[in-house]
């Protein structure tokens, strides 16, 4: 089935020799398919939005990205849907599945870049790389410099050095550990991730661990910014966590916090602002 699809795609490409020729060499990419929300955002930030001809169904930021045709899923990509956009560069998030897709694309003569952008440092590096690939090296360097200076800036602890737990799922409870972008953001905002000692981006933990680490805040990401606490906060077992009992939730926009982004300074400022304007009650 897949081989059949590849054959069709090959035939289609063979009929377009001019475009295939244009994709070789060091010329800036003009038709880019981006298969990760963070990479799509970065392309638009570089000013390369008009060069993006394909995105994933989850690439919703910036709003202009929604006008680009979707090629479906980014982690389990459809090579045929991508090839149908006639890209001269495909950006993929590096994982075993996408490496297979990248090999298939290479076999079709479509250049690919496998990028791993999980942390703040990666944003700077990727910005430089993509700046060069899109013919916007100056813009790439400028984004990278902003991120580098954010990384180098001294961190001012919030007055109380707020202690935060990111809860991404309730049953079983899954929290964010170190080795994640969110953990970096928390540190830069002068706060502390109570699960910083877990060296994986996320981990399943038991509720009693959350209760005994006693975070001041429970942070959750949400697509729509209503201030309602999450539904699970009403469950009795969660009320053993003091922050849940006291309704101390930090509701963060997923669009700003959900992926490594050149808007990291904005995210840090957002978090600092939230923490500074909702001070903790005096310890009893």
């Amino acid at each position: 089935m897949r081989r059949c699809a590849q054959l069709l795609v090959l035939l289609a490409l063979a009929c377009r020799p001019a475009e295939r020729g244009a994709s070789t060499g060091a010329a800036p990419a003009r038709r880019i398919v981006s298969l990760a929300p963070s990479l799509t955002e970065l392309l638009f930030a570089l000013g390369a939005g008009p060069q993006v001809v394909g995105r994933t169904a989850y690439c919703l930021y910036p709003p202009a990205a929604r006008a680009v045709p979707s090629v479906g899923d980014g982690l389990n990509p459809s090579v045929e849907a991508i090839a149908a956009r006639h890209p001269d560069l495909v950006l993929l998030y590096r994982s075993p599945q996408t490496e297979t897709a990248a090999r298939q694309l290479d076999a079709l003569g479509i250049p690919t870049m496998l990028l791993k952008d999980d942390r703040m440092e990666d944003v700077a590096r990727t910005a430089r790389l993509l700046g060069r690939a899109t013919g916007r090296a100056a813009a790439g360097d400028s984004i990278a410099r902003v991120i580098d200076s954010l990384l180098a800036a001294p961190v001012l602890p919030t007055p109380t050095r707020a202690r935060i737990a990111f809860v991404v799922w309730d049953a079983p409870p899954i929290v964010i550990g170190s080795g994640s972008y969110l953990d970096e953001l928390v540190a830069m905002a002068g706060a502390e991730n109570v699960f910083h000692d877990l060296h994986t981006p996320s981990a399943t933990v038991s509720l009693e661990t959350i209760a005994s680490r006693d975070p001041d805040w429970i942070a959750i990401l949400r697509d729509s910014l209503n201030a309602q606490p999450p539904a699970w906060a009403g469950r009795r077992e969660w009320r053993t966590v003091r922050a849940v009992r006291e309704g101390r939730f930090l509701i963060l926009p997923a669009e700003l916090f959900g992926q490594p982004s050149p808007r990291a300074p904005e995210a840090v400022a957002f978090l600092e602002n939230l923490l500074n304007h909702s001070p903790l009650p005096a310890p009893q």
Binding site: W169, A171, P172, D197, T204, S206, R236
Partner: protein, 313 residues
């Protein structure tokens, strides 16, 4: 004597479950801490009830279908529960109790389908049709689940999958009360069918000659065991191997008489799940393993050992 040992093992398992955990609670403050009262104790009781339900359901289903491989989840209930849970998440149904309710509804749907299929061969619920129907319904639900997962947004559904692998992290006094009120009825139905079940293991014909209403017994036992399993999957996900291994242990120790086998399987199932959950919470603390993984890791070697002894004997 055997019952005394089983009771002592239960006490020891309960004690381990409430005293051990990733959070260190000084022994003197144990009875004053919320971690003990609101997390560990309800979780231990839920493990006991769920493990016990799976043990008793497994024992009666193995006798019902006269197949030592029967497991409470073999009859399609896990597939139905999984489909219910994944659909609830994909459709963004909110609410604190959505997941367990949806899983319960899905399990009931699968139960109804398999039961209806079982009646195709007559009112006596042909065990072969039940088994095949269960596997078919389970596979169908699994296929729909995978279709939903592959079409809907990834991260939430990955988490739903994790939930399906079993875990007692949702334990609270609310869930314990609910299960404690629900479980006795099907258990009593199973116990009341102990004598007919004894006869059924001899075969359908002898059972009938000895005065058993085969059709009624099968229907009652199937429904009671499945309702127990549906409740277990709703509050704790799919916990494998407890319902498969525990009845065999029970038979080895207490013989095949269901008057003794069913209570023994309940207790042994409770003990096994208590120990497995304690291990799941503490082995890689502060992280936690899905308890279904632990029951498999502990249960399968135990099972292999038993198999070797039985085949050698």
């Amino acid at each position: 004597m055997k019952w005394l040992v089983l009771s002592l093992a239960l006490l020891a398992a309960l004690l381990a479950a409430v005293t051990l955990g990733p959070a260190t609670v000084p022994a003197g403050q144990l009875f004053r801490s919320a971690i003990f009262w609101d997390l560990r104790l309800p979780r231990a009781l839920l493990a006991l009830l769920v493990g016990g339900s799976l043990g008793a359901a497994g024992a009666s289903l193995q006798s019902l279908v006269r197949n030592p491989l029967a497991d409470p989840f073999l009859l399609g209930l896990s597939g139905g529960a999984g489909l219910g849970a994944v659909l609830a998440i994909a459709l963004h149904l909110g609410g604190a109790w959505t997941l367990p309710l949806a899983a319960f509804a899905g399990a009931l749907l699968a139960l109804g389908l398999v039961f209806r299929l079982g009646l195709v061969g007559g009112s006596a619920l042909d065990p072969r049709v039940l088994l095949l129907g269960g596997v078919a319904v389970g596979a169908f639900c699994g296929a729909v689940t995978t279709a939903v997962v592959s079409l809907a947004e990834a991260s939430a559904l990955r988490n739903a999958y994790l939930w399906l692998w079993g875990g007692l992290s949702g334990a609270s006094w609310d869930t314990v009360t609910l299960v404690a009120v629900y479980v006795p009825l099907p258990l009593v139905v199973l116990l009341a069918a102990a004598r007919p079940l004894d006869l059924l293991t001899l075969g359908e014909e002898p059972a009938r000659y000895l005065g058993t209403d085969v059709a009624v017994t099968r229907r009652r036992v199937y429904l009671a065991a499945s309702l127990l399993t549906a409740a277990a999957v709703a509050v704790a996900g799919v916990i494998g191997f407890v319902g498969l291994i525990v009845p065999h242990l029970g038979r080895a120790l207490f013989g095949g008489r269901h008057r003794a086998l069913l209570p023994a399987s309940f207790l042994a199932g409770g003990i096994l799940l208590l120990l497995a959950d304690t291990l799941a919470r503490t082995a890689v603390a502060p992280r936690e393993l899905p308890v279904g993984v632990v029951t498999a890791l502990v249960g399968v070697p135990l099972f292999v050992l038993l198999l070797r002894r039985w085949t050698a004997a």
